[in-house]
């Protein structure tokens, strides 16, 4: 017996280094304990006084003494009992070693590794309480005649809290316009609404905003947050995804069209399978690839693939079902009824999902107007880079001629010349770094040229010959030879430790608690995602509609009825008004999954139209919504709002991402790409392109616009359920010192100066443009005083002439020599259309710009009430 155990321990030592005993515990030990042991030694009874629900209890042991001696499998009672070598055998009955040799070995390795128990909570806490299962129960239909206000009002009345009065009309129009379109109302729109006495004025306002193309841009950005949209792949190369913009525009179009949400989801999960005749539905599958991804020569293929599968499984779970499926990757979900097996069954539905870049002709509704100009501009850069590279070929040819003692290249055989060029003959270490830099730039520019091609960043079931994607390091089999890969449970999430094989499936908990039965998911190459999509988008899926209406509610009140929009499991906050959440979900499904119908219902409620107010002692968090909670503008609203106030916002929609003006230091910041550096960031040369809405700006994972970033922009790598709004001193730097803010202030001042003649009229107009209202007497007085003071300052201190742009310096520490090298990147060949500059306007306009800068920085501008 002892000998046997020692031999087990001996075998194990060799393997021990490769294995994490904590992962072993969660992947193997714990499920066995739950399945085979706790019935008698934990839940309900503790036979022989032995409790196996925590490490402490295990060490304490039962009637026969400690069950485990960490680090000493041979001396551990538990192992003696389960190995079947002694007089007593556990679990009782059946053949010796009933748990199987492999499991017993696992227990031995786990004890050898110190018997870690990574979660300190006893196992009994991982059973599911009724109140934690609410999201899996069928949606309850509301009683006829229900309303948001009746439901909220009942709770307020019960708590004895009075609701705030209705907000003023000027407050309301600014609130609803930002909420629905992400832009401020124009001063004219504010006046028109404030003066409209008609009882239908508000309903007309709702209709106008829901019908505005700006609506889809604003709500689309919110969906892109959840989907983790970016125009690049992240990691070391951060390769461009040159056709990803078509997915972005698809999302905006779908929301503007109020495409039924169930269809919207089906298209994104399996548009290629379910709607093969609809080219747009294939573009929609870009959703599944939105996460960061990379495969390089130093990547392990099985790991890369597994990372994608984990990413898409968890990404879909979080975004569509409000469940953190990723928690069940290594072990049964700690809190929610999601066994690891279900996680891998869902993953199996994606197992044949491969990257595709099919040709899909541009749609009539896509913005292709910039493609030709963009291509031409990029081609000019490519041509120049080619010329730079040519120098090194010439250098190599010269070296070859010298080596062979000839004076004309024609005197050398072609293959000798070609080899010299290939081997970079005569190219020294510093020159070689420069060569690598140009090669890297060339590769990046060439990838970018695909922006203008009618391809899609999409997926397919199995590879498509000639239209696969993923880069040079990834090899696909021919479509005819492709077989659906087997999917196994991976204990501890370890790709090398495949356990039980699983078939594609869904979350078993849903069929258990709701009306929605388990669907049959095909196990061939095709049809898996399609079946999964039908299950997710079913009106009987208890999660899908609830998750989305909760998001819509959050978009208006800052917080969902269930406050953790991406987590409807046990650890997410319970809904404050569960019956209201269900009523909205029912309304959503009955309206034909109309997102706009849910907006409309919410916007028409009194709750949405309330004024701000103070928290009641009985409801300090305002969970009962007795008043309307104010919020800071989100990063995009702030940037777009500044452009709008300045009269510069360009409303052109769609097309490849544009490059706005960003902080110059960041633009010139050299960025590593594998083996070399990326070209410097270049703003779009035309003003109207730079000044487009932020949703249309190129989203580079490694280079976010610092102004968007500092105002809590979405993290592009992780699904963002809700924007943070922390107040930071670096925000003051960006908004008060940043070039972007100064440029907008000057543009606003310039515009106002041309529209009004007197200082008082100009100041009043500036207030109207920023706040949608005229200044009061006190404000007017302060502003005019500041204006006079600054005008005097500017008359005395003319602005310095603009300095030519600083050169872009590339600095790299060579991998080859360890030395650092510096190169200057040539300027963009395209002419650059400048923003209005201080020396181009009179001193009075510059004084007005000082006022405008303060207006754009003010609390009134930055908050929505």
């Amino acid at each position: 017996m002892r000998a046997l155990l020692l031999s087990i321990a001996g075998v194990l030592l060799a393997a021990a280094h490769a294995e994490d005993p904590s992962a072993l515990f969660t992947g193997t030990i714990l499920p066995v304990l739950k399945r085979d042991c706790l019935g008698c030694h934990g839940e309900g009874q503790t036979l022989s006084k032995l409790d196996l629900r925590s490490r402490e209890a295990l060490l304490r042991g039962g009637a026969r003494g400690p069950a485990v001696q960490p680090g000493k499998p041979a001396e551990s009672l538990l192992l003696q009992l389960i190995s079947g070598a002694g007089a007593i055998q556990m679990p009782p009955g059946g053949p010796p070693q009933r748990l199987g040799r492999e499991t017993v070995d696992a227990f031995a390795r786990w004890i050898e590794g110190g018997a870690p128990w990574p979660q300190a909570a006893p196992v009994s806490q991982w059973t599911y309480k009724e109140e934690d299962l609410w999201a899996f129960r069928p949606v309850k239909k509301p009683a006829p005649g229900w309303s948001i206000d009746a439901m909220l009002g009942a709770r307020l009345a019960a708590a004895g809290i009075a609701a705030a009065p209705a907000a003023g009309k000027r407050t309301l129009i600014r609130r609803i316009t930002f909420d629905l379109t992400g832009l401020p109302p124009s001063p004219e729109e504010v006046d028109a609404f404030a003066n409209d006495r008609s009882p239908q004025a508000y309903d007309r306002l709702i209709d106008r905003l829901l019908d505005s193309p700006r609506y889809g841009e604003r709500q689309g950005r919110r969906w892109l947050d959840v989907a983790r949209y970016a125009d690049s792949s992240g990691y070391s190369n951060d390769f461009e995804r040159p056709n990803a913009w078509r997915y972005r525009d698809y999302v905006i179009r779908a929301l503007n069209d109020d495409k039924p949400y169930d269809r919207f989801l089906r298209e994104q999960i399996a548009g290629d399978e379910l709607f093969p005749g609809d080219p747009e539905a294939w573009i929609a599958t870009g959703f599944l690839r939105a996460g960061p991804w990379e495969h390089t020569g130093m990547s392990v293929e099985a790991v890369t693939r597994q990372m994608f599968l984990d990413d898409v499984t968890n990404g879909a779970g979080v975004a569509l079902l409000g469940l953190t499926l990723g928690c069940a990757r290594c072990h049964d979900h700690k809190f929610d009824p999601i066994p690891t097996r279900d996680y891998y069954r869902v993953q199996a539905a994606f197992a044949t999902t491969e990257f595709a870049r099919p040709e899909i002709g541009f749609l009539a509704r896509e913005n292709t107007s910039e493609l030709a100009a963009g291509r031409a501009r990029l081609n000019a850069v490519v041509k120049r880079t080619q010329a730079s590279l040519g120098r090194f070929d010439e250098m190599a040819r010269q070296a070859a001629m010298k080596k062979h003692g000839v004076t004309r290249a024609g005197d050398l055989p072609k293959d000798v010349l070609a080899k010299a060029v290939r081997d970079k003959l005569g190219v020294g270490p510093a020159e070689f770094e420069e060569l690598k830099l140009h090669q890297k730039h060339m590769q990046i520019y060439r990838d970018s040229l695909d922006r203008f091609e009618p391809k899609a960043f999409a997926v397919s079931s199995g590879p498509i010959d000639g239209a696969t994607d993923g880069g040079p390091n990834l090899k696909y089999p021919a479509a005819s030879e492709y077989k659906a890969p087997e999917v196994h449970v991976l204990p501890g999430g370890n790709v090398q430790s495949a356990a039980e094989k699983v078939e594609p499936g869904v979350l078993s908990v849903v069929a258990r608690y709701s009306r929605l039965a388990e669907p049959a998911i095909p196990s061939g190459v095709k049809g898996r995602r399609g079946a999964l999509a039908q299950w997710i988008a079913s009106p009987d899926n208890p999660l899908t509609a609830r998750v989305m209406v909760n998001r819509i509610w959050q978009y208006h009140f800052g917080k969902g009825l269930a406050a953790d929009a991406n987590n409807f499991g046990k650890m997410g906050k319970k809904p404050s008004h569960p019956e209201l959440l269900d009523a909205l979900a029912s309304h959503f499904v009955e309206s034909g999954w109309s997102v706009k119908a849910v907006h409309r219902l919410i916007l028409k409620s009194d709750a949405y139209r309330r004024a701000g107010g103070a928290a009641s002692a009985k409801d300090p968090e305002n969970a009962l919504l007795s008043f309307f909670p104010p919020r800071r503008l989100e990063a995009e609203e702030l940037r777009d709002g500044m452009l709008a106030a300045a009269g510069e916002l360009s409303l052109e929609g769609g097309g490849p991402g544009v490059f706005p003006t960003i902080n110059d230091d960041v633009a010139r910041q050299p960025q590593h790409r594998m083996g070399s550096l990326a070209p410097a960031y270049r703003p779009s040369p035309e003003r109207r392109q730079r000044n487009r809405r932020t949703v249309y700006t190129f989203q580079q994972r490694s280079l976010a616009d610092p102004m968007v970033e500092v105002f809590n922009g979405a993290n592009m790598d992780v699904s963002c359920e809700r924007r943070d709004s922390s107040t930071l001193p670096t925000q003051a730097f960006a908004l008060f010192n940043g070039q972007f803010a100064h440029d907008r202030a000057l543009a606003l001042a310039d515009r106002v100066s041309k529209q009004a003649a007197t200082p008082a009229a100009r100041v009043a107009l500036a207030f109207r443009r920023a706040f949608g209202r005229a200044p009061d007497a006190e404000e007017k007085k302060a502003a005019l005083a500041h204006y006079q003071r600054m005008a005097a300052h500017h008359r005395a201190a003319p602005p310095p002439p603009p300095t030519p742009p600083k050169p872009v310096i590339h600095a790299i520490n060579s991998e080859l020599t360890g030395e650092s090298h510096r190169f200057v990147q040539p300027e963009d060949p395209s002419p650059y259309e400048h923003d209005t500059r201080p020396h181009e306007v009179p001193p009075e306009t510059r004084a007005l710009a000082d006022i405008a800068l303060a207006l754009l920085n003010s609390n009134e501008f930055v908050y929505v009430y």
Partner: protein, 473 residues
Amino acid sequence: MSTKLAPASLNRRELLFHSGMGLGAAALAAILHDEARAADALAPKARHLPAKAKNCIFLLMEGGPSHIDTFDPKPKLAALHMTKFQKERNKFEANMNTGERYYVRSPFQFRRAGRSGVEINALFENFASVVDDVCFYRGLRAESVNHPTALYHLNTGNQFGGDPALGAWVSYGLGTENRNLPSFVVLPDLAFPQGGPANWSNGFLPAHYQGTPLRPLGAPVLDMTPPEGVSKERQKANLDFLGSLNRMHRPRHPEHAELQARIESYELAFRMQAEMPGIVDLDKEPAATREMYGVGGKDPDVEAIGRRCLLARRLVQSGVRFVQVIVSGWDSHDYIDKAHGARIRAVDKPVAALIADLKRTGLLDETLVVWSGEFGRSPDNGIRRGGEVWGRDHNATAMAVWLAGGGVKAGSIVGATDETGLAAVEAVHPIKDFHVTLLRLLGLDDNRLRYLHAGREKQLSQTGGEVIGELLA
């Protein structure tokens, strides 16, 4: 007009009492508590456990420095040099690590240093004099052999990125002692590392804990100074006007405390604007100190690293909690003799000066210094560039790491790698244990340093880890 305001809480309390809203005591307490929490995100906090170190300087050697050619010599490789073997291609190995392989000896001389007699690359002429303050750790194993994923893993505990960096967790756990400066400062090379700013992200923690990179060129903090042509007087006048606008607006929303917090954030920003230039100005240091770090010398590579090491000391001295210095260029697949040689020569003097200077100023006791790459390098190499040159590929199972400073077992070597340096085999621990240990050295308990995010209690180690006791004094 003055923008000087009384402390936030006082203002707000007065305001609430005078607002006539009839706010109950509990609600008032809740609001004040919320504000205090928001306003004091960076206030110094009590540690979980007693510890000596209260600050950390993390010297991140980006690219994967070779342990075999720095602090962990492998004489066996001299015997195996250029021995050919075949490593099967399979889906669990990177393409670049498979195929025809050759063992490669280290091209460097090694020397014994300090009382422990640790063998280090002889090019570390200056560093040799401080090894008695250093604990070399040879047992650490990373998981990924890809730069960005390995960097994210080392910096944030999560290979995918997106989670808070170690410096953000430490700032969250300890707060900072100088509210005019960021708590977590990053000193990158001119080029940012692979994976970019996600390496110093606050992740799901509040943005106060985000790492602030101080750029070696231009304004050290983005937009810390106004555009060219905006004088200090003009900026001050505009700031005063902004203050008056905000003050006139304030009574319209008396219950909305964030407005006050935002007014104060402008004041903090402009205090930072006033204080930062003095701190980054290395001319304030005596010439002898600058020389010690190699600042002002002939070698530009030493200069670039020396400036950052000296700045790291000045920042820690000024109350910054966590400083990360990033030195790139260690990815020596080829020409390792030249490439690693030049890197070692460039870091040797500044890093040795940093330890000696911290010790001299008494800061070493309360500062934890860490030196680590994102992974180590392999004892073997494939054939590239015609087989004429050799270097080493990536290796996640062994790496070059050392610690110094408060609470560290100075003058010791912990753990060991096998005879070729392929893998750590003694005192072996994963990255998460290393993280737990670094937190422990700073008085923080990983299991208590948690943050509730989207319904999940999250922590740096992700699922818990153990302290590597051998590294502690």
